[in-house]
Symmetry: C2
Subunit: 410 residues, 2 copies
């Protein structure tokens, strides 16, 4: 066991680097899976997708109008015989006879021999009717250049071109392009399967708490945080403070998870079930110089990284945001959420020697922040009011109103 | 039929206002549903949620340590008899005898008679062992003020206080607070059920396109856009250009949808199936002074709003973003995505008399934009490369590099 808890506390940066390193293999060689396009919204491409076809697939009309030879409409007005009709979806190739016109709809294939589309607005049927073109004559009233309103095959994308690069989070516009090119499924990064284990004899899931009991808030918070970071929850379970009980849910989670997060049971008291079980399995149990979130442990059990957070609900959430959120997002192919600098609206006190993460509320414009609740790690409802964590440096004792301060978006 | 297509084109603002008005009833009196907390991530609360309990539920210890009377630890060091142990989850109330200490774990109920917790770090067992406290004596080495490390009942939230306000998009921290207060389900806005109908004889969903056929890109694009805007897809169907076929899928969609979006079939050509079906049902078929996206129609059929977009894939997507995205988000209780101003990196030409929405790519910092592809509405792969729509005013002919320009985030 490294990381004797009585040793000098580890810095947040050191512990964050350790956690990130443990997740690097999952990030650098992510698992992949193929999903149908209908289920690909928000997923991240594992590789670039190249088009197997030209887009447009064929030379087609950009307008409802008449397909003509540009040479025949140099001088206008000119009356041309309408020799037929090409609706969109017309599946038989058609040829245009010089000196005549073919009515054509947007998207319909341009007939052989035609090189220009005259929009319907620039024409009038002088003989015949829209719904009966037999013997019809159209008057062309505006000249159009050769190629005008003709969409050439491949003018959007050529076969072999990249439609969507690797590591793209698929948005509606990407799905549209893939669908247009006939792509039916796409290879994306598999979502990491995260096991979530909470511990504590005092925890109950539902019902009326007896004396000394509390509702478990960490299971649902971690599950939601994991999903927001692009991963999926493989198993969510809770145990009391009996090591055998915790060991059972841990072993179960190890079978189905790429990584495991635990909350509770790792501080210096008695009945520290997570520490008791993970310690013999080589855990690094440590104290990080931060508040909330000081007691932390990591382990690799059977090849699966395990991250053990302290059990106070605010400590659990802060630990996730500070240590796991960005590494999990990286593994999912999502961009990190970097901390940023804003202005402190009111003075705050901090604890020298520990980096403090206060809960903060941004003002309307997002450029200034005020504390949202007290610093205590049990203030779970106070945390619900917050937009950000206010990150007070280890050495800070007090910060004046107007000071620049780093915040982490929640 | 209002909105004669030959009349002066309608402005984007006018048409947007009309669409927004049609959705106002759905936004102002949204349907509600109750969902279990486990399925509430990202949902929007329909009403405020008040706590039915005090949080903490009971007076408990903030630290692993010893529960004492502050009066007994005024002078330190002092040796106190350890009369028992209070683990978290201890379900029997305990009293402290003056002049003694009880070992206590974080979160465990503070015994009657105790008013202070001394953290374990400030103590040493001088007799007895951690795992056998019979006859143990603890030496207290640091004095603590009355109330220190005691979390009072209700110090986070009092019964009746608001845990989560109405119209909150539920994030992990909200779910944690709700779970901590024993809330098992929450009343959220029901997702609007949107029917998506695409039309066109030329469209195929899968397989190899025959001559003149193309893959449908609009169904999946609209489905994804609708989901991103907080709504759900009730039905997605496609018809050829036979009015009876379109009428069938429309009537089917009307039964299960709060609103319907169609693409294609509303311009001035022949075989305009959506126009042919909606016109007799009182549709407002119009031309909006924009490119792409000019032909637009709206209708209310059997009380259900119908929004008919043109069928070119870029036109469909631009129409959704410009007209429907923010009204749908408002109905979902989500904030709008307002256009913003950036700097144009290269000169662009526009079409006087029509507001043009070019596809654009932002530079790294997001403060400048370049066109991503040509202006043509068939460039579906070009649109996949874009981050934003560049919004060129109706009167613009050319804009110089360096000009301020409005962009809509995709």
């Amino acid at each position: 066991m490294t990381g004797d808890p009585s040793a000098r506390p580890r810095s947040v940066e050191e512990h964050a680097a350790l956690v990130a390193r443990m997740l690097e293999p999952l990030s650098e060689e992510p698992a992949e899976e193929s999903v149908p396009l209908d289920h690909a919204l928000g997923r991240v491409t594992a590789e670039e997708v190249r088009s197997q076809v030209d887009l447009p697939l064929f030379r087609n009309s950009q307008m409802d109008g008449y397909a003509v030879r540009s040479a025949d409409v140099h001088e206008v007005p000119v009356a041309l015989e309408v020799t037929g009709d090409i609706p969109a979806g017309h599946t038989t190739p058609v040829s245009l006879v010089a000196g005549t016109a073919l009515r054509i709809m947007t998207g319909a294939p341009v007939p052989t021999g035609a090189d220009t589309i005259v929009p319907v607005e620039d024409t009038e049927l002088v003989l015949g009717r829209d719904d009966d073109l037999s013997g019809a004559i159209v008057e062309i009233r505006r000249s159009r250049r050769r190629g005008e309103y003709v969409r050439e095959r491949g003018s959007d994308v050529r076969r072999g071109d990249v439609l969507v690069p690797a590591r793209t989070r698929l948005a509606p516009r990407h799905l549209a392009a893939l669908a247009a090119a006939g792509v039916e499924s796409v290879t994306v990064r598999a979502r990491l399967r995260v096991g979530i284990l909470t511990s504590g004899t005092e925890l109950i899931a539902t019902g009326t708490p007896g004396f000394g009991q509390v509702y478990d808030a960490n299971g649902i918070a971690l599950a939601a945080l994991v999903q927001e970071a692009g991963a999926t929850v493989s198993v969510r379970a809770s145990s009391d403070d009996d090591p055998a009980a915790f060991e059972r849910i841990l072993d179960d989670a190890l079978r189905t998870s790429d990584l495991i997060i635990t909350s509770g049971g790792i501080s210096r008291g008695a009945y520290e079930v997570v520490r008791e079980v993970l310690h013999p399995r080589g855990a690094d149990v440590t104290t990080v110089a931060m508040q909330p979130g000081g007691p932390q442990a990591t382990a690799v059990v059977g090849g699966v990284p395990v991250f053990a957070f302290p059990g106070n609900p605010v400590s659990t959430q802060v630990s996730f945001v500070v240590f796991l959120r960005d590494p999990l997002r990286a593994a999912a192919g999502l961009p990190g959420i970097p901390p940023r600098e804003v202005t402190l609206r009111e003075p705050v006190r901090s604890i020298p020697g520990r980096r403090q993460f206060l809960r903060g509320v941004l003002d309307g414009a997002g450029a200034a922040v005020s504390p949202a609740s007290g610093p205590s790690s049990h203030l779970v409802a106070g945390m619900a009011k917050a937009d950000v964590l206010i990150d007070l440096p280890e050495e800070a004792e007090t910060l004046e109103a107007g000071s620049p301060v780093t915040v982490w978006t929640l």
